[in-house]
């Protein structure tokens, strides 16, 4: 297998606070990789760096043959990297189809956008059926429920036809039912895409993950299969231990 994403010795510093501290990460073509870690571990920051939102203090991010550091956000998208956000951001004033269509049209030159949209393109159609939003195609995005918003975001990502998808906590705040649907959606997408998913939820991880990278305080703690990672005492200490504390808090 060939590496699609290669991060070497990456560091990110916010006003003297080191949020990412010498991270190495390699994701192969076609892989579905889960990225976990307690709050503040640097998961979102890592995605922000890959997608050009945050500039690293040091290190390299290679995507295929390209170096991503120092590039603008939209240029990175054009190279084939797409992302969603922890809190979904869709365009509420536009309909579901219009949201998807915009996502699908970015490779056209600007002047070619001066025409009206006629019908539904193949990429949009595909995104609609994959996410199951076809029934809501002509509704304004503002009427969507929380789960549907997340699916629309994933659909927009699919419509972009990226080579690498980065999903930041796609099931946060979802009902159990919505979670398992998202899991199925994820499995479906992972069949023909390279995907990195940030996720907290252990249960979700057990059901859908294979390869997991654990981040802690800006460093890679360990990497491996779900079983290996779960069996790792260091992980239990920083991650599960904290979960136990939280559970204890909840009981109290």
């Amino acid at each position: 297998m060939t590496a699609l994403l290669e991060i070497r010795d990456l560091s990110v510093v916010f006003d003297g606070f080191t949020a990412i501290d010498g991270v190495d990460l390699t994701v192969d073509q076609g892989e579905l990789r889960f990225l976990i870690g307690p709050n503040g571990a640097g998961k979102t920051t890592l995605i922000d760096v890959i997608t050009g939102l945050t500039k690293p203090a040091a290190g390299a991010v290679r995507f295929g043959a390209d170096d991503l550091t120092g590039r603008k956000e939209h240029e990175i998208v054009r190279l084939g990297v797409g992302r969603t956000f922890q809190t979904s951001v869709i365009f509420e004033e536009l309909t579901v189809v219009e949201n998807l269509d915009l996502a699908a049209s970015f490779r056209r030159p600007l002047w070619a956008l001066a025409g009206r949209r006629r019908g539904i393109s193949e990429a949009v159609e595909h995104a609609l059926t994959t996410t199951g939003l076809d029934e809501l195609a002509n509704e304004h995005a503002r009427v969507l429920s929380h789960g549907q918003r997340q699916w629309l975001e994933i659909g927009m990502l699919l419509a972009q036809r990226p080579r690498l998808l980065l999903l930041d906590e796609p099931v946060a705040g979802m009902s159990l039912d919505e979670r398992s649907r998202t899991g199925e959606l994820l499995t479906e997408i992972a069949k023909d895409h390279t995907v990195i998913v940030v996720e907290h939820d252990m249960d979700f991880l057990r059901r859908y993950a294979s390869q997991v990278t654990v981040l802690h305080e800006g460093r890679v703690l360990t990497e491996g299969s779900v079983e290996e990672v779960r069996a790792n005492p260091k992980v239990q200490e920083v991650y599960l231990g904290r979960a136990r504390e939280e559970a204890d808090d909840a009981v109290r």
């Binding site: 997608t51 603008k72 956000e73 939209h74 998208v77 054009r78 797409g82 992302r83 956000f85 951001v89 869709i90 365009f91 509420e92 004033e93 536009l94 219009e98 269509d101 915009l102 996502a103 049209s105 970015f106 490779r107 600007l110 956008l113 001066a114 025409g115 009206r116 949209r117 059926t129 994959t130 996410t131 199951g132 939003l133 076809d134 029934e135 809501l136 002509n138 509704e139 304004h140 009427v143 969507l144 429920s145 789960g147 549907q148 699916w151 927009m156 972009q160 039912d177 649907r181 199925e184 959606l185 479906e188």
Partner: protein, 357 residues
């Protein structure tokens, strides 16, 4: 695999032929009123005033596009209006001078025609500049500030400062621009006597047709993919970047289009009203048009046009009776609209239409 929804959602009713024909029907009615009824019924003086309001409506259309659709609060459209107006004014002055110096230059002791003026003797050049100069300035400004992610209030203040600076520049260059007096005393346009009622009537028709065409063009743009993108930039500029678009380009293009409209309006203003001067394009007139767009309804292009005509008419009527009171009334109206009906008159009309359907 399908993900069905639990939450019931209100379906928008499918567009019937009635709702689909409503827009064109209204447009056709307004066109007949403006092109046939108004010239027949209104005395020349009133028709001239209406022509002036329609000229302002062209600027308002551009503001509706930039602010209502694109979220760019443009407080300095007077600059572009002025560029178009002066380009036209310079041409008219040169035609009248017939190879001599324009009158005001003689009065201010200028002895040789400034190089800047020379090409404006050519009507094609002058007409091209009417649109191109404002668009070029807006493009340069947009490329500079939007790329630096200057937006919101900062952008608004910047455009306002530009209007203020432009006025100072014009006043300072007495010999070149006519200073505070601006350019005036125009007698003919392309060989037609501007003092004749007939010429003014034709001018009115030209203004109305230009406004109508620009309205249709702007509507087409709003309904295009570019229009959707523009709304997306307005509502979530940062998110748009992750769709693979550069919002700075989208905003610059739109800003330039709105500037071109203002320039064209400025050029039409000159023969209609007979003057172009710094007082007509500074901070206050620029603001007045933004207020008019807000009152009419900035989210609908028709609202912007309506606002300019209604506020223009209100200003004339009110000033005829209580000189000086207009400023306060206008301010009060603005606050009232912003707090009670942020979508303006257009928003109120649309709501009523929905209720009666």
């Amino acid at each position: 695999m399908t993900l069905t929804t639990e939450r019931p959602v209100a379906k928008t009713p499918p567009a019937t032929w009635r709702t689909r024909l409503q827009g064109p029907a209204v447009f056709a009615t307004v066109a007949v009123l403006a092109l046939v009824v108004a010239p027949l019924l209104l005395e020349p003086f009133r028709l001239g005033l209406l022509a002036k309001y329609l000229v302002y409506a062209i600027v308002a259309l551009g503001i509706g596009l930039a602010w209502g659709q694109g979220g760019m609060l443009v407080l300095g459209q007077g600059v572009f209006f002025g560029l178009g107006g002066y380009a036209m004014g310079m041409h008219l002055k040169l035609v009248e001078a017939q190879g001599d110096l324009p009158d005001f230059m003689v009065w201010s002791g200028v002895e040789q025609l400034p190089a800047l003026w020379e090409p404006f003797a050519n009507p094609v050049f002058a007409l091209a500049m009417v649109v191109l100069a404002p668009m070029a300035l807006a493009t340069a400004l947009g490329a500079l500030v939007f790329r630096q992610r200057v937006r919101g209030a900062y952008f608004a203040i910047l455009t306002q400062a530009l209007a203020a600076a432009f006025v100072i520049l014009l006043i300072g260059q007495q010999g070149l621009t006519g200073g505070t007096n601006g350019l005036t005393n125009f007698f003919e346009l392309f060989g037609q006597d501007l003092a004749l009622d007939e010429t003014q009537r034709v001018l009115y028709i030209v203004v109305a047709v230009v406004l109508g065409l620009l309205y249709l063009g702007a509507r087409q743009l709003v309904n295009s993919r570019f229009g959707r993108l523009l709304v997306a930039v307005r509502d979530g500029e940062d998110r748009v970047r992750f769709l693979g678009y550069n919002p700075a380009t989208v905003k610059t293009v739109t800003f330039a289009i709105s500037a071109g409209m203002a320039g064209l309006a400025g050029a039409l203003f000159v023969p209609v009203v007979g003057i172009i001067s710094p007082a007509l394009l500074g901070v206050v007139p620029s603001l007045e048009l933004v207020v008019a767009v807000a009152v009419g309804g900035r989210f609908a292009l028709a609202g912007a046009v309506l606002g300019a005509v209604v506020m223009g008419y209100a200003k004339t009527t009110f000033s005829e009776q209580f000189a000086g009171g207009w400023l306060y009334l206008q301010g009060a109206l603005f606050i009232l609209v912003m707090t009670l009906a942020p979508r303006g008159i257009a928003g109120l009309l649309r709501r009523r239409r929905k209720e009666t359907r």
